[in-house]
Symmetry: C2
Subunit: 331 residues, 2 copies
């Protein structure tokens, strides 16, 4: 995308539900080019912040059947008349083995549904950039009038934290585990889960799925009840994406949680808190971008970081020295 | 402390094990005064980074018997000839009901032991400041030649994350729980625990303690094994701080973990990673301090944050506007 789009026209087409326009807008917010960045901010500004979708974060390691689940669950919502967007947050395509959602053919029925929009993750990216881009892609989908935005992550590194900070509820998808595979959940993920779904509860795996489900239900009971949860949440349930079994129950559980949070005012509080969080993150990110724009300062930061890592310097004075160097050059 | 100390003299006295000098140095790093800050950095610089203590993070909600545990465990180490420093990280003295470790009389035997040093948490503080101060207090204790630095936190908000980022191993202290009290662990804490100790495993509570211990042992098995852990870790065990029972076993488990991590090179990697983390945090914190020093910018940030929270503005453009305002005033 070299030519800059006509922002009011693009905004209009996004609002009217033009999926190609939405795709182009997401490419715009994903771009690193300063002029694209400026255009992206103008576009977001033009689109406003009125429309809200239900943002669902979905995390699960490769092999739990995430694509099958998204296909079945997304189709169920789409067939119920809801417009569903699926985005992927993948901070480290390398580690997680290629862009997730990359193989859209694995969800071709959902892809072909007129009420659905699927956006694979960009091939490579840095965490900070991923957060901003994904957040803005979600905002674009909301402005485009989608009812549900499903944000998928493989839960590598901090990605589930990022996704939890930009979604209204967080679903952890698991596969049935045998005794040896019990240590399946990446630390940190269970913390943010509102709903744990043990997939593949079908055929031979059904007993293992039930056992895994009750194991995690037990573990969840050991965690303090969060103020934003009604009784019984976080919840663990079994589903079979393959046989489209338990998906209604999962959707009902999400609806229950959402209704409770809206009534309790937790929904708005949470979104406000997330917005404050992202504002502070943006201020810090933009400050860092600014000082890193100076290649000598960027080099100084890298050197200082390693001097600190090796114990030759302490964090505070090393940071102070780098910033002083910036002032001397730009004061 | 109005008069500034003679840094080389203070450093010398700290190295020689003068506890009053150490206490004064910690007051210095805790001070918000710019001249104190500068002196603190000079002092840390003068002390160097050669000596290393075993840094143990200890988290537990009020009522689990943290003071009793620190007294018994700390005494056991001190009586074994180890020099033990105890620091407290308490980001919100208000919420957690007063400065922790404030009542040193609850650990008077440890307080009176010549090999021990106990430092209550400052009465009030902001999280960012707490992190820096605590980190530097730990560094001072290491320079003072302590073998073990116990960093206590009540695990309010992010404090356990902060403590985990500045310690070599993290211990979670729990009390025996009945069926209704099961949801005892604040989310996030179990994630960082290397060792879960269920205290009060004595008298009538012994059966409940054993049950709680096996519950958490089960929950830990559901989490993926971390690369920095040998087999069997994280571990859950019962202790009785009151009857000084199980403390040897807990210390042995810590020694096993530390030995494994040193051999595997994980120890150095972890410390290097923590140092990089704190360097980046310092750069961001100092950048923010700088722009907040301008009261109008501080006001603009508060206003922008709330505009973003209410949905009137988006994070990125709001942050950009604030920073532009700073440039216009200081460019």
């Amino acid at each position: 995308m070299s030519r800059l789009p006509d922002i009011p026209d693009l905004a209009q087409r996004i609002r009217s539900g033009d999926r190609r326009a939405l795709a182009r807008a997401i490419t715009l917010v994903e771009s690193g080019r300063p002029d694209h960045r400026a255009a992206a901010l103008d576009l977001l500004d033009a689109l406003g912040t009125e429309k809200q979708a239900l943002r669902i974060g979905l995390s699960g390691t490769p092999g739990v059947g995430k694509s099958t689940f998204i296909e079945s669950f997304g189709l169920k919502l789409a067939q119920a008349g809801l417009r569903v967007a699926v985005l992927a947050v993948d901070p480290s395509s390398v580690r997680s083995g290629g862009s997730i959602l990359g193989d859209k053919t694995r969800m071709d029925r959902l892809t072909r549904h007129p009420g659905a929009f699927i956006r694979p993750s960009p091939s490579q990216s840095l965490l900070g950039g991923v957060a901003r881009r994904s957040r803005e892609a979600v905002a674009l989908c909301e402005a485009a009038g989608f009812d549900v935005v499903l944000v998928e992550t493989v839960g590598v590194g901090q990605s589930e934290t990022i996704v939890a900070q930009m979604t209204d509820l967080f679903v952890l998808l698991l596969a049935p585990a045998g005794g040896d595979e019990l240590q399946g959940v990446k630390r940190g993920i269970m913390e943010s889960a509102d709903l744990i779904l043990v997939n593949k509860a079908d055929g031979d795996l059904l007993p293992a799925a039930r056992r895994t489900c009750s194991d995690y239900a037990g573990a969840l009971r050991l965690l303090r009840k969060r103020p934003q949860d009604p009784d019984g949440f976080p919840q663990a349930m079994t589903v079979s994406a393959l046989e489209e079994d338990g998906l209604d129950g999962a959707w009902e559980a999400m609806q229950t949680l959402v209704a409770w949070r809206r009534d309790a005012g937790v929904w708005d509080e949470t979104r406000a808190g997330q917005a404050r969080y992202w504002f502070d993150e943006e201020v810090q990110a933009q400050l860092l971008e600014e000082i890193r724009r100076d290649p000598e300062i960027a080099r100084a930061m890298t050197q200082a970081r390693e001097a600190v890592a090796s114990g030759r310097q302490r964090p505070a004075p090393a940071a102070a020295a780098v910033l002083q160097g910036f002032r001397d050059r730009h004061g």
